[in-house]
């Protein structure tokens, strides 16, 4: 409840037969009262603007499965890789929801970092389409290739030693 005592000075008392001057004074006083009352009522209310936007869910996980909890998240808009457009942090599960500016098209980058570790995901935004480019995911093909390479190097090394030993024995 708001009170405006200054709106009721003694000289603004309404009378049954007001003079022209008094009528003007009362009109102005009444107008002020209405305007200020309206302002007070507005202060109590809440105006909610709603807008539907596409949020991008990002989840940071270390490659042993541990979530990147409370990691720093840096969102860079296209054309400005030096200053982050937005900074936030992941939750306990390493997740964060990001809403980019739909007016700005091009390649956005989202970087998650924590204690010198991290990764960057790129979002190519063209109109309504969003293409996610991530260089951090490794598949089974990559793992198979690694083990094949390691096996090959071990066999090659063993062969080298065997040949050397045979040559040594022969000499």
């Amino acid at each position: 409840m708001f009170h405006y005592p200054l709106l009721y000075p003694t000289r603004f008392v309404f009378t049954a037969h007001p003079t022209v001057k008094a009528l003007w004074q009362q009109t102005i006083a009444g107008l002020c009262f209405v305007l200020l009352s309206a302002g007070a009522s507005y202060g109590h209310g809440v105006v909610v603007h709603t807008e539907v936007q596409q949020a991008i869910q990002v989840e940071g996980v270390y490659d042993d499965g541990t979530p990147m909890a409370e990691a720093q998240v840096l969102v860079f808009s296209p054309g400005n890789p030096r200053t982050p457009w937005k900074t936030t942090t992941t939750d306990e599960q390493g997740k964060v929801s990001i809403v980019t500016d739909p007016e700005v098209l091009g390649r956005w980058s989202i970087q998650l970092r924590q204690a010198g570790h991290g990764a960057t995901v790129y979002l190519d935004m063209e109109g309504d389409t969003v293409e996610v480019i991530s260089r951090t995911e490794s598949g089974w093909l990559k793992t198979t290739l690694i083990f094949a390479l390691v096996l090959w190097s071990a066999l090659a090394t063993a062969g080298y030693f065997k040949r050397g030993r045979a040559r040594h024995a022969h000499s």
């Binding site: 490659d63 042993d64 840096l74 982050p84 570790h117 991290g118 960057t120 951090t136």
Partner: protein
């Protein structure tokens, strides 16, 4: 201990790459001066593969996990061969596993390679004295080398991140995370020391000429 792309400013990664090229070139020059440089290549290849595999195995230490770095051991076993071995392994890890990044190969090679070179040099310097004093002394030296190598790698990593932290990063949060990382690596440093001591002691008993980055006739200058 792999710094990925985008964490450090470009001038830093470029500078580190130049430093890595310089260190590798210096190491290769030293290797070329040996009577038979090719003799050490199979051993370097073997330890490159070992380093590549072991650094992909995660050891769970709450709240996160760590992996072996083997800086001390590489220095002791490979000497100057350690630097090219580390560069190759770091490159393969970046390309095949996504550990680290292509732009940060220089930084990551310095983080592991520089301690390895220092450990190799330190071991060669201290080895005769330690052997004169007995096996226990030599074992202690190997343990010290193993712990020093990985501890130095952690310190270089943390200092690099702290020194070149962008202004838009929440510095206090990053410092707290780095402190946790250092604490988590403390047991690993001791494990690396024990591993290095065990392996070096084993080679000292069975095949001592393998140590010190030298092979038959190839004394490291």
């Amino acid at each position: 201990m792999h710094i990925p792309d985008g964490i450090l400013p470009l001038p830093v990664t470029a500078g580190a790459l130049a430093a890595t090229i310089g260190l590798t070139a210096a190491a290769i020059t030293k290797i070329k001066r040996m009577p038979d440089p090719r003799e050490g290549i199979p051993r370097a290849a073997l330890f490159t593969a070992a380093f590549f595999i072991l650094s992909t195995i995660h050891i769970p230490i709450p709240p996160t996990s760590v992996h072996l770095m083997l800086s001390g051991l590489l220095g002791v076993m490979l000497g100057y061969y350690a630097m090219p071995a580390v560069v190759i392994a770091i490159f393969l890890q970046a390309v095949m596993l996504g550990h680290g990044g292509l732009t940060t190969i220089g930084v990551n090679a310095i983080i592991i390679g520089l301690p390895a070179l220092l450990c190799g040099w330190f071991y060669r310097w201290m080895r005769p004295t330690a052997l004169r004093r007995g096996n226990r002394s030599h074992l202690g030296l190997a343990f010290a080398i193993g712990t020093f190598g990985s501890a130095l790698a952690v310190v270089i990593f943390v200092m690099t991140i702290l020194l070149f932290m962008p202004v838009y990063i929440d510095a206090s949060a990053e410092r707290a995370a780095l402190l946790t990382l250092m604490l988590v690596h403390t047991p690993l440093v001791l494990v690396e020391g024990l591993f290095c001591a065990w392996l070096v002691h084993y080679f000292q008993r069975t095949n001592p000429e393998l140590l010190c980055g030298s092979v038959a006739g190839n004394s490291v200058p």
